[in-house]
């Protein structure tokens, strides 16, 4: 009897420590990190400006900002989170387009809606949930205590996206408009944009239904229209054009 009890205790202890539970609803905080130096060097290579070196010296290598993701079985809402107190250099230099997006996904309606600010132009994107081919990769990583599998996908034909998703959160969501994997994306990396999103904590506070709302302001477009509009206006930007387009369509 004593042995059986001990066994059950051990089992329970192991079960708890292994996080042997699903997380159905809560809040994830992502830290988005942009490698500013790498981005600068890219500009330099493109022959843009020589003041890049000077800028690099003044600028920290990484720029961080935080995003919150509220999720339950039927929805996810991704929006800018806590602000860093000090001056954000990314913002200082205009920050590029569409870096403070709000994205609402409703799985039952197969609907995604987003507010994206492209410099002075506000867009309201409405479309079905994005479908993309993710390729499973044989790598496992633990992020914020969750066991994650690696998958690789592609946007805009050539831009690779690396995701680590956990099946222990049975919601097919993720940062920005990414998702469609067997579980929540806990880390996202886009090497061409020198940017990563990594979940640094998961809070088990259930969101309220009214949290999953979005304001319908700005020019109403679907994803393709957004891409075409942006592409048209950026194509004169030369080498910067691609990067800006990618940021907008994320």
């Amino acid at each position: 009897m004593k042995k059986t009890l001990l066994f059950i205790y051990t089992l329970l202890a192991l079960a708890v420590s292994a996080g042997a539970q699903h997380t159905y609803k809560g809040r994830i905080e992502y830290e988005r990190k942009v490698n500013m130096h790498a981005q600068m060097e890219e500009m330099e290579q493109m022959g843009n400006n020589s003041w890049v070196e000077k800028l690099k010296a003044q600028m920290p290598k990484f720029n961080s900002s935080y995003f919150d993701m509220l999720f339950d079985a039927g929805h996810t809402l991704y929006k800018p989170g806590r602000e860093l107190p000090d001056n954000n250099p990314f913002k200082m230099f205009g920050g590029g387009p569409a870096t403070d997006n709000i994205v609402l996904t409703e799985f039952s309606k197969n609907l995604v809606r987003a507010n994206k600010n492209v410099f002075d132009q506000k867009f309201f994107v409405e479309d079905t949930i994005r479908v993309m081919d993710w390729k499973e990769r044989d790598e496992v990583r633990t992020i914020a205590g969750y066991k994650c599998h690696k998958a690789v996908g592609r946007i805009c034909d050539t831009v690779y996206v690396v995701a680590f998703y956990t099946e222990d959160i049975p919601v097919s969501g993720g940062p920005e408009m990414f998702g469609g994997l067997p579980g929540m994306i806990m880390e996202l990396a886009i090497p061409r944009l020198h940017t990563t999103w990594v979940a640094n904590k998961v809070e088990l506070i259930p969101p309220k239904t009214e949290d999953f709302t979005i304001q319908e302001k700005g020019k109403k477009v679907n994803e393709q229209q957004l891409h075409d509009t942006i592409y048209d206006s950026f194509k004169k930007w030369g080498s910067m054009a691609n990067r800006n387009v990618w940021w907008v369509v994320l």
Binding site: H22, W134, K135, D138
Partner: protein, 936 residues
Amino acid sequence: MKHLSILLFLVVCCVLPSAAQSYIIKGSVTDTLNNNKLSMASVVLIRTADSVIAAHGRTGNDGRFEVRVKQQGKYFLRIAFPGFAEHIDEVDVKKSTTDLGDLPMISREYLLKEFVLTQQVAAIKIKGDTTEYMADSFKVKEGATVEDLLKRLPGIQVDKNGQIVAQGEAVQKVLVDGEEFFSDDPKVVTRGLQADAVKKVQVYDKKSDQADFTGIDDGEKTRTINLELKEDKKKGYFGKLEAGAGTDGYFQEQAMANAFKAKRQFSVFGIASNTDKAGLGWEDSDKFGNGSGTTEITEDGDFINRFTPDEFSGWDGRYNGEGLPQTWTGGTHYANKWNSGEHHLSANYRYGKQKVNIDGNTDVQYSMPNDSIRVTETHKEQSSSSDRHGFDVMYEWKIDTATSVKITSNAGVKATETRSEYSTDNYFKIKDAPGANLNNLRQITGDGNAQFINTDLILRHRFPKKGRTLAIDAKENYSENTNTGTLFSVISDTFALTPDLVTRQRKDNYSSSLAFSGKATYTEPLSKTVFTEVNYGITVNNSTARNLSFDTLATGQYSDVPNTTFSNDFTYNILSNAGGLSFKFMYKTYNFSFGSDVSRADYVQTDRTNTNNTTTYHFTNLFPRANFTYRFGKQTSFNFNYRGNTKQPTITQMQPFLQNTDPLNITIGNPDLRQEFVNEFNMRFNDYKILQSRFLWASASFSTTSNAISTEQSNDSGINKTRYINVDGNYSGYAFIGYGFKVPKTDLSIGGRLNGSTYHINNIINRQQNSSNTNSISLAPYVSYTKDNKFDIRWEPQIAYNVNTSTNNPVDVTYYIFTNELSGSVQLPKKIEIGSSVDMMFRQKTPIFTTNNNVIKWNAYVTKKFLKKSQLELRASVYDILNQNLGFSRIGQGNMVTQNSYNTIRRYGMLSLIWNFTHTPVGAPPAQDGGTMIIK
């Protein structure tokens, strides 16, 4: 209106499923321990072909799931639930609904308690063409060697002699962290290195340097094992010391030490033994030429100095299991890379001293016309020794991403000494009546010195256009052999009809060869899938072959003037031009290639004993080839290969040097010999299922030879004369099938192999046309059972049936050989292990070979391990407990069957102490076990 909407509804209903073209995969998931249905378990289907996540879903409250994919085909199914081991399976989707039934899930804690073994499946990864085993996932005994580890890995076999077969093919190279490591003897690595230093074992086909460079697969592959060491082993030093003393003067001492640091490797080893367990491999003997020989040009324009060994050239230094060996060998290895791999240097030095004493009998039976046979029975006593040094160095400089230079050089010196005595009994048998009988006694001594130095410089450049490359290769090959010796021979006939023929001569032989060659290879992509390769090469070779015999004068001294009949002195100047063109078509699942090389060789032979008479030979050789490979999947492939080549007769065959070392067998030259042409067809099919540990590999090969160079044998008054002639209709073929698997949920592996071969040879015997067939078939099943760290047993019987027929002999020679190998070991408490093996061999007697050749060889050992990590091991073993071991081989070919028996190592006992040492500096991080655990 209502009708319309009903119609619409119907249309939608009917159209939707077919438009979506989806296939349903369903099943249910249960926790086997508690018999609970698991809800919200994640179900993921990954398309095997491109690893795209094709579908995913969750189980419902009843544990059931249903997912849909758009295509038929193969998928990986992964089911995950927190706290449970992932369930991985392969699903073949063919029907519109695939019901997988109930799928079990095992909680991780339970699994860790009960099924440590199941990790084995898990610890294998397949990355492209590479199979990677995580070493720590395979339990080996403490202090085990790399060889013990390899034996544990599914798909890898190691035979008694240490030969490794991985997924059906013999492993030719064993690398350590990608470096060639005493590459002339992989056993130094597999038997000297400890298993616990290894992090990963990678098995792959190493492509040729040229294919690696151009990216165009030339089909040339070397099955290679790379041992990736643990990080902590690259910070300190580690090694092994073994000391063993046995009865009857047997000994076995071995030491190896390794100090690795990041990319730098440094190792030393030393072996002294007179058992056949260690230190006997030295694969470079072909770099040292032996005896009198000729030069052949291969399709790459390379030279092969083909030497016909004679008794004066001494022993080639390879122990082939005949006789009693003694070995002292040692070496050092250094490798390093610096400037982030831009410079790469590696060097090996090795010294070896070996002695072998042979006492043996060789019986040969020739089928002759008119129901007669000729039998020769030779008794041989031979002692030989060799002393050698070998050195090789490789330096590679990657000048930039497109250009690299690589220099390899190897050199060696060797001294050998051989003393032999032969007594031969040579007789005819017509039916059962004894015929003429000749005896020959020969005493031969030989002392040889040989040296060689070879250098190869390769410059490679890759152009910006993908697939366009240029490689320039310059080579130098130099070798020199000196042999001096004596021959004493007496031929007598038992009826004393003729006086004895006595020969007493001194022999003075010399050969040297110096060759330079240059070759340029250019590849050009004609499209994304079609590539062409053009090459041209030129070779110049100057060689000398001198064989001088000096008779004994009446004074008992050797003469200063060579005996002209048995002496010759030739120089050869050979110029060869070779060019080739080939095309390769590469697609995702298959590729094929075809092409041909043509070479023209001009020989100028100068006979220096005969007023510098020159003779010129010209040969044009053709080397067509074609290859087709189809890959059904990552582990399943089919390959068809054709090779044709002309083979020119060797100078020996056209104009042999008259040798009197074996006066009962004389070879006569034929200057009218033509080239032979060989067509060779090979087929291969491999299928390997990692998760089930199931393999199937099959291969078949067939070759025909037109104008084959064969022999005409005649026998006059007991002396056998051989002359080379061209014949048609020779062919040979073989087939092989191997199959094996692990019985699911057990520790039992079952499998077997089936071999068949046939040879058809035409020749002429005593002016009569003769055709001989040699056919054999063998079947070898195996069963093995392994309970980790407790018990293992393996049984492998084999039965082989041989038939030799010959048209001039109405009696077929047929016999069975039955062998039986049984081995096992048991772990006892207190770190004690006992093990034993029994090898049995039963050979059927034939009318000629009437001696009993049955052998039962029984070995046993007991070991006890000491210290905390069992670093110290004491081992007591007995070899051949029944003292029955026999050195024996029997080969049948053409109209002759040869049986060879010789002395070999027999019963001895040995006590050994083995110490495995490891030193890791303080502060070094602990070993990491990377990799995922996939558990089925």
